[in-house]
């Protein structure tokens, strides 16, 4: 077995880590669509700044001998109802678009950011009342707000900017609040507070810089929307006067003359669409560049290619007693440019009525192994070698339909977080009844009776009544019992329990483990217990496999594991358990991409 997952400890000198801003910009430069968007926005900006130089005509030059013309050599985009050159008006219109767009977002930011910071940072009653107020204001149709502002202040550039700013400020406040709320809990804020920073300087110097990224993204989107709203207002002729050339104003004229000169609706419309699209693309790009460290694109890889990549070794002989038999298994992560083997396991079996523990740290690949056994690997993970046999059947490259048959009675699973394991919007009864009916021909009523019995069996008191309750009405331990009941509905030969008790408190954990053992005795199923807790292994397992960095380092019965550990890593794990505070971080492999 080749040791392909090497631990690379990159020297992290300050000279090698560029600033976050520089990194984001670098990523942006690598996105072709964002660059096209930026290019177009530059064109608009150049038009706006140098309009008098670029425009072939004065935008307000009337020529009544040539009204409503189509495109010609003299007027590339034709003329409007007063014979004014459309191209020149479009070029000058870029000024209005950018001014109104950016101006109104600045106004919105000036109102919204302080409001959102305050609500998010103070929390409590400020937040409750303030958020309610934001909701009220935000529910109003934006266009009505604009109508009202223009009715009060009259037409013109400033009223429009103020109107759009007012429409957007609640959006910005809401967003700032949400991000601030998330930032508030972080350590640096506490540190600042402890070191005696005043609230205002803490907010603006510490919190604000940390939320600039999302704000820039939102700002870019809003500039685009502002341009659309300005265009709509000018189109309705309550925006800017017609002496100020704007894209919306041109469209307002175009609609009245559409029967005579339909071409006129295209130039301003396309200018608006391209500019708004460019702002949206820019926002998308920035948000991707900001987040791409965390969000790696899951690339679905070709099943056949994956199979071909793995060497098909000689299949080991099936063991008749084993519910689960794994031989020479390799699970590989396919990322955009490399393939990383995450799990390599030479031999592991689970017999009927046997509890086998798989123990390892987070990131050791034990959960990936569990998902491979369940046939639930993420689309970028593939089995590239070895075999998995369940109840004697080779399931290594089994198609989904075969897995489905197996899940109908041979194999079931319980996962870590019981709340996430149950659908929050369906009653517990519905989920149980559906599972039961998937396995047996039962009437709805009979399935309900069965479900209640099953719930009662796993220790939920008053089960018949609780069938109509939702998962959030259950405690963590009780919810996990429900999840176990769902898994038991198929009377499986093999139960995979992936950190099934890790999220529970110690007492509840012991109860759930006892339940699993009872059920093992009653149903005679084998249990594959994935855990990071040596205590759990000691308590319930017959045998245990110690996994480190994706490989099996030791597989033995529990007694000898604790009494005479063979591998130094096992020794370390045992030692770590006795001296809790000490972590064995130094040995965690460098596979952050591993989906746990």
């Amino acid at each position: 077995m080749s040791d392909t997952v090497t631990i690379r400890t990159r020297p992290r000198g300050p000279e090698q880590l560029p600033s976050p801003t520089a990194r984001t910009v670098k990523r942006l430069l690598r996105q072709p669509i964002t660059m096209i968007a930026v290019l177009w926005l530059l064109v608009v900006l150049v038009c706006a700044v140098t309009a008098p130089l670029l425009a072939p005509f004065d935008p307000n030059d009337n020529d009544f001998t040539a009204v409503l013309q189509g495109p010609s050599a003299e007027h590339l985009l034709g003329t409007d109802e007063n014979g004014r050159d459309v191209l020149s008006r479009i070029i000058f219109g870029a000024r209005i678009a950018l001014l109104v767009g950016v101006g109104s977002v600045i106004i919105a930011a000036l109102i919204g950011i302080p409001l959102g910071l305050l609500l998010g940072f103070r929390g409590g009653w400020y937040d409750r009342i303030g958020t309610r107020f934001i909701d009220i204001f935000d529910a109003l149709p934006g266009m009505l707000v604009a109508f009202a502002v223009i009715a009060i202040l009259g037409r013109g550039m400033l009223p429009i900017m103020l109107a759009i700013g007012l429409i957007f400020c609640m959006n910005i406040a809401r967003m700032t609040r949400a991000v601030t709320l998330a930032e508030r809990g972080k350590i640096y804020v506490d540190a600042g507070r402890v070191s005696g920073l005043r609230e205002v300087s803490l907010l603006f110097r510490q919190v604000l810089p940390n939320i600039t990224g999302p704000l820039i993204v939102q700002g870019a989107i809003l500039v685009g929307s502002a341009i659309t709203i300005e265009a709509a207002l000018s189109f309705l002729s309550i925006g800017l006067e017609s002496t100020t050339p704007s894209w919306g104003g041109l469209l307002g004229v175009a609609v009245t003359k559409m029967a005579v000169q339909p071409f006129m609706i295209f130039p301003p419309g396309i200018a608006i669409v391209l500019t708004v699209l460019a702002f949206n693309m820019l926002a998308d790009g920035v948000s991707q560049a900001l987040g791409s460290q965390r969000r790696r694109r899951l690339r679905r890889t070709d099943r056949a290619a994956a199979r071909a990549a793995g060497a098909v070794g000689a299949a080991a002989a099936p063991d008749a007693d084993a519910v689960l038999q794994v031989d020479d298994l390799t699970v590989t992560l396919f990322s955009e440019d490399k393939r990383v083997p995450l799990v390599t396991l030479d031999h592991l079996t689970v017999g009927r009525g046997e509890v086998v523990g798989v123990i390892g740290e987070s990131g050791s690949g034990k959960s990936t192994f569990a998902r491979a056994v369940l046939g639930l690997l993420a689309p970028n993970l593939h089995i590239t070698g070895g075999t998995i046999r369940i109840d004697g059947k080779d399931m290594t490259h089994a198609p989904p339909s075969q897995w489905r048959k197996l899940r109908g009675g041979t194999i079931a699973a319980v996962f870590q977080d019981p709340m996430a394991s149950l659908s929050p919007v369906h009653t517990v009864g519905a989920q149980l009844v559906d599972t039961l009916r998937a396995h047996r021909r039962l009437s709805r009523r009979a399935a309900r009776v069965e479900a209640a019995a099953l719930l009662e069996r796993v220790g939920v008191r008053g089960a018949a009544k609780r069938l109509d309750e939702y998962p959030h009405q259950f405690s963590g331990g009780m919810a996990q019992r429900v999840a176990i009941a769902i898994a038991l509905a198929s009377e499986p030969a093999l139960l995979v329990a992936d950190e099934a008790t890790s999220a529970l408190d110690v007492t509840t954990q012991a109860q759930v483990l006892d339940l699993l053992l009872d059920l093992r005795d009653e149903y005679g199923m084998g249990i594959l217990l994935i855990t990071h807790d040596m205590g759990v292994v000691a308590e319930v397992c017959d045998r245990a496999a110690v996994v480190y960095s994706g490989s099996l380092v030791e597989l033995t019965d529990v007694k000898s594991l604790f009494d005479a550990p063979q591998d130094p890593y096992t020794v370390e794990l045992l030692a770590a358990r006795e001296r809790r505070p000490r972590t064995i971080e130094a040995r965690v492999p460098a596979s952050e991409e591993v989906t746990s």
Binding site: A139, A148, V276, F415
Partner: protein, 315 residues
């Protein structure tokens, strides 16, 4: 259920009060005063203005006026238009069906297109279909609705002649022709909003599909079709419903512009005239009517949200 409705309704009452107060205050904020708007520039002598202000009750304290305005509004009396002299409520009721038709049809278009596109993309997240849909929706989002309307008119009315120039026919008069006339306006109105719903649906569904409960139920042997159609879908619909509620307010706003594009005699065109003429009673009446409708629709969405999502119900 009753508890849910009661808790949501109590939240709406302060909302209605604040919104109506804001709208009422407009009277006092508009420069040049109501009196001079009625009189016109020529007759605006100080004596005349004082007389009209007494007539309008503007000399009384502000809260007294507010109460009598609210009281009137509750009885359907929104005052009379400065320009036409007609009761505002009559003019609004005459035009409300057209606006509701437009917004209603636009909403149906937005939901049908949005949810369909979102489901297609969400079921195949990360695949070419998903990327195509995402591309289409970001394009749709960038299109100004009123311009889409213009293009539709150009193509289907002027060039192809499939639809009449003035398409709006009241529902009561001829339902078939009403629907025919609604096709283009509701398409133009709903296209942009559908992008919002599509994105929300896509995200919600792909998140639901990647969730633990889908794993649990799949591992327990439920058929994938059932897991998706019953479990993932219902979970995904929770945020989609919230997004749909949000689009209602947006659609009402956009409809004000769309009415002008398709010459639909709705509240929007009436309001537009009142902004230009500073016809305050009409503006206030129209604004309060639309706001109340939006608030009530949001209330319904909020209640539905509670029905769909047990966690959002009052305990």
């Amino acid at each position: 259920m009753l508890k849910l409705i009661a808790s949501r309704v109590t939240l709406v009452i302060p909302q209605l009060l604040i919104v109506s107060a804001l709208i009422f205050l407009m009277t006092y904020l508009i420069p040049g005063s109501a009196a001079s708007a009625i009189l016109g520039d020529a007759r605006s002598t100080p004596d005349e203005i004082a007389r009209i202000e007494r007539l309008l009750g503007l000399d009384k304290p502000i809260w007294q006026n507010f109460l009598s305005w609210i009281g009137g509004a509750l009885q359907g009396d929104l005052g009379t238009s400065y320009v036409s002299g007609r009761p505002v409520s009559d003019a609004l009721m005459e035009r409300l069906p057209a606006t509701l038709s437009l917004v209603g049809c636009g909403f149906v278009v937005a939901v049908v297109i949005g949810v369909t596109l979102g489901l297609i993309a969400g079921l195949r997240a990360g695949r070419p279909v998903d990327r195509t849909v995402t591309g289409v929706t970001s394009f749709l989002q960038a299109l100004p609705e009123f311009w889409v309307g213009l293009i539709l008119i150009l193509v289907f009315v002027l060039a192809l002649g499939w639809f009449p120039v003035l398409g709006y026919v009241p529902f009561a008069q001829d339902p078939a022709r009403w629907l025919y006339g609604m096709v283009l306006p509701s398409l133009a109105l709903g296209a942009g909003a559908s992008a919002l719903i599509a994105r929300q649906t896509r995200t919600a569904l792909s998140e639901a599909l990647a969730s633990r409960y889908v794993d649990t139920l799949t591992a327990a042997g439920l058929s994938p079709v059932r897991v998706v159609m019953k479990y993932a879908l219902k979970n995904a619909m929770v945020p989609v419903l919230a997004a749909a509620g949000l689009t209602i307010g947006i659609l009402f706003g956009t409809s004000l512009v769309m009415e002008r594009v398709f010459s639909i005699p709705g509240v929007g065109t009436l309001l537009l005239g009142s902004v230009l003429n500073k016809d305050i009673p009409v503006m206030q009446g129209g604004a309060i009517l639309l706001c109340v409708i939006v608030i009530i629709v949001n209330l319904v969405v909020d209640i539905l949200y509670g029905v769909l999502n047990p966690k959002a119900r009052p305990q």
